[in-house]
Amino acid sequence: MSFKIIVLAKQVPDTRNVGKDAMKADGTVNRAALPAIFNPEDLNALELALRIKDKLVDCEVIVLTMGPFRAAEIIREAMYRGADKGYLITDRKFAGSDTLATSYAISLAVKKLEPYHLVISGRQAIDGDTAQVGPQTAEKLNIPQITYAEEIIDVDQTSITVKRRLERGVEVVKSKLPVAITVHSSAPDCRQRVTKLLMKYKHCRTVTELQNETKDYTELYNLRPYLQLNEWTVDDLHADVSMLGLSGSPTKVKKIENVVFASKDSKVLSSSDADIDGLMKELLSSHVIG
């Protein structure tokens, strides 16, 4: 059986390059001011998945993303890099989901794709930074999990050996399959989009996107059915609505604060070697550098 990998990916606002209008007056993220991007660690996860595919050849990489209609872009971006297909989980009823409700919905979608060998995602998304969705999904699927993965050392049809990047070193672990893996940013950068794949898949659209197209794609879609991206709603997942959206989300945001970093005290150093040496040691010990 072909080796099946499900990559969980999220479209996020680019919080790495924030301008002055990144936050609204009420302290929430101003999504309109930030470009929507592929969550960086999910790209690392995609790269590890594609490396497994390079190695095993008989391997299918499926991207699963949950979000508004425009999140279909994530699936296309993954396909330009080598993913085979993707599913968009989208429904207004998901709005306001916290990590618990999100992992519930994702686990239902993953179950629909059974049998699979691997569920792989980034460690965390740069908008919420919770690092909870991967592990919670694994729990709901009742499969083992390996977090903070940096490298896939070995993989076959039944087991996988993974190097984990931990705070004070690395750890190599082996697990039976299926397993859920979350990937650390120290994993290799994702490969570039490939010209021919981009031109092949750029017309991929979900049903909803097709409805908003001005051009008639009927002929093209009959010719190339793979261009139609799958869209799953609450009904498709047979989900319990009470476990979704705001009602399924026990997390409540109490308060959001704007933090402005300000210097508190300063220190005057002479240009002597001893002073410079002292400063270097201080910066090293406080992990500012090194």
Binding site: N17, R193, V194, T195, K196, M199, K202, L220
Partner: protein, 567 residues
């Protein structure tokens, strides 16, 4: 997270030129491959969208990988180890990224695994890569050789070599020899045909060969014994896997240090003949050189863009006498002129590439079927324009890029002279552009034909016959006066009926034509978008002053004065 394509709106502007519809239709042969290949465009809009998105990938690789690697590559350079060229680690990274992204063999047809891109998007990619690292752009840009194999090689050679490009094969064009630089007719490297194994063998030395240790090399060699001119030369393809060539050394250069320039010794090296014997220099190398010159044009524009950006950034940040130096007229005039001249050579670059695109597309169509009368006329028209625009572009773009790099370093002051900022590398890298693929002096020799046969003047009159918005009319009137002045001074030089006198003023005349042509191009850019109004205005002002000074120089001279210049 830099993208050298999306951060430069000029590229999208040129990609949207009205002539693109025709270019893409010809190149795609009315979109005949749309159902045959899943990555072929379905219509014009689809094709432009693909070019745009592919350029975005090139822009990202250039901004995130090639650009950041440039300093290391310049420092490390390639090394010669066990008769093999080892690229600098950054070069290896760059090539790997472009190869994996499928950026090699971009203009080849799909049947050979290419992307079938016209020159315009390919040259744009070359500009973007050059802005990141002009030396690396050479290694990547030598995929031009694929085009020559495609145009003139036999089916057997095409099937053997062309699909290797998409897989990442590198290429070299082995033309120059110790005693045959500008004068390629003097090439001595010997090609002998062995009846027994039905193979050609190469013996001799090549010098100053960019990327000499490439996978696939095109070698110009003397196949006809007892000849001494161009008619005895043929073009061959040499495969690196034969291991019948030694690399004597890698040159230690002023700039483009990441690009290995090699001295090669061929010893009984097996090779395959491209096309027919005796046509090597006359036909195939001329075509190869023309695309290489267009490539140097793109490299020059990329370097100019990089230099201007470095200078602009530095001038905004650097404060002297209590304010940013960009606020002083001596600095802001320099910066604006740099920007305006970059816009001008970019317009000339893409205009030339459009001409090349159209005539090349007709050439390939003519391999499948006979062109009809209007098509043949059209082909000839664009071929004629490409012939005189290519040397003009190479001349002007490379000279401007050097001026711009010089001024960019000047704006940095003492800091610019140090290795701390990229501008010193850009300055060194720029220097080669007026020298290789034919010196500026040789470009003038080719371009003066366009003055003599009236093709430049006709092109100018054609530009000036197109109406513009009323608010741009005054610029058009200035250009009309400049065209008139140009026509008269050409007549005046010709009145003397003395070739040496014409040669003496040739560069001045070619540059005058260049000033008017770039003025016309910027005028029409301004007509299409207000963004270019300032550039058109300033460029035409500079060009007019320059032409007046040249006319004054010519008017003061007489054939009898030439003696004063001879030693």
């Amino acid at each position: 997270m830099a993208n050298f394509y999306t951060d430069n709106e000029n590229l999208k502007f040129h990609l949207a030129h009205p002539l693109m519809e025709k270019i893409v239709r010809l190149k795609e042969k009315d979109y005949v491959e749309k159902d045959q290949f899943d990555y072929a465009p379905r219509d014009f809009e689809d094709a432009i969208d693909s070019y745009d998105k592919v350029l975005e990938i090139v822009g990202e690789i250039s901004g995130d990988i090639i650009g950041p690697n440039a300093e290391g590559v310049d420092h490390d350079g390639p090394q010669l180890i066990d008769n093999e060229v080892k690229y600098a680690p950054g070069t290896v990274d760059n090539l790997e990224a472009l190869k994996k992204a499928g950026m090699i063999g971009m203009s080849l047809p799909r049947q050979y695994d290419g992307l079938n891109f016209p020159m315009i998007p390919y040259i744009m990619a070359a500009e973007v890569v050059s802005r990141a690292d002009a030396g690396f752009a050479n290694i990547w840009g030598l995929q031009d050789c694929a085009e020559t194999i495609h145009e003139f090689g036999s089916d057997e050679i095409k099937n053997e070599y062309l699909p290797r490009f998409y897989k990442g094969a590198t290429a070299a064009m082995d033309l120059t020899e110790p005693d045959a630089g500008s004068d390629l007719q003097a090439v001595q490297l010997k090609a002998t045909f062995n009846q027994e194994d039905n193979t050609w063998y190469l013996d001799g030395v090549k010098r100053f060969i960019t990327n000499g240790d490439a996978d696939i090399s095109l070698v110009l060699a003397r196949s006809e014994p007892n000849t001494s001119d161009a008619r005895g030369l043929s073009l061959f393809v040499y495969d690196r896997t034969s291991k019948a060539m030694t690399i004597r050394r890698i040159e230690n250069k002023l700039g483009i240090k990441g690009s290995p320039t090699c001295e090669l010794v061929f010893k009984h090296a097996p090779a395959k003949l491209i096309g027919d014997t005796k046509m090597g220099l006359i036909k195939y190398v001329m075509s190869l050189m023309n695309s290489a010159r267009l490539g140097v044009g793109a490299q020059s524009v990329g370097l100019a863009e990089a230099a201007w950006r470095e200078a602009q950034k530095y001038a905004e940040e650097r404060e002297q006498f209590g304010k940013a130096i960009i606020q002083y007229p001596a600095v802001y005039e320099l910066l604006t002129n740099m920007k305006v001249k970059t816009d001008a050579i970019r317009s000339l670059l893409y205009e030339t590439a459009r001409f090349v695109d159209i005539y090349k597309a007709y050439t390939f169509i003519s391999h499948d079927r006979k062109l009809d009368q209007p098509e043949r006329e059209d082909y000839k028209h664009y071929l004629k324009l490409a012939d005189v625009f290519t040397p003009l572009l190479k001349l002007v773009a490379s000279e401007y890029c050097n001026q711009i790099a010089y001024d960019a370093l000047q704006i940095h002051g003492g800091t610019g002279y140090m290795k701390d900022f990229p501008v010193e590398r850009i300055f060194r890298d720029a220097r080669i552009t007026t020298i290789y693929e034919g010196t500026s002096q040789l470009q003038v020799v080719a371009a003066i034909r366009g003055v003599g046969n009236g093709v430049y003047l006709k092109a100018i009159q054609n530009y000036l016959s197109i109406p513009v918005k009323p608010e741009l009319q005054y610029l058009k009137s200035t250009l009309e006066k400049m065209a008139d002045q140009f026509g008269k001074i050409v007549e005046k030089v010709n009145e003397h009926e003395e070739n040496e006198f014409l040669d003496f003023h040739a560069r001045r005349l070619v540059e005058m034509a260049g000033n008017i042509i770039m003025g016309c191009l910027l005028l029409h850019d301004a007509n299409r978008s207000d963004v270019y109004k300032k550039s058109a205005e300033i460029f035409i002002r500079i060009g007019r002053a320059d032409n007046i000074s040249k006319v004054s120089m010519i008017n003061q001279s007489h054939p009898r004065d030439l003696g004063a210049y001879k030693s």
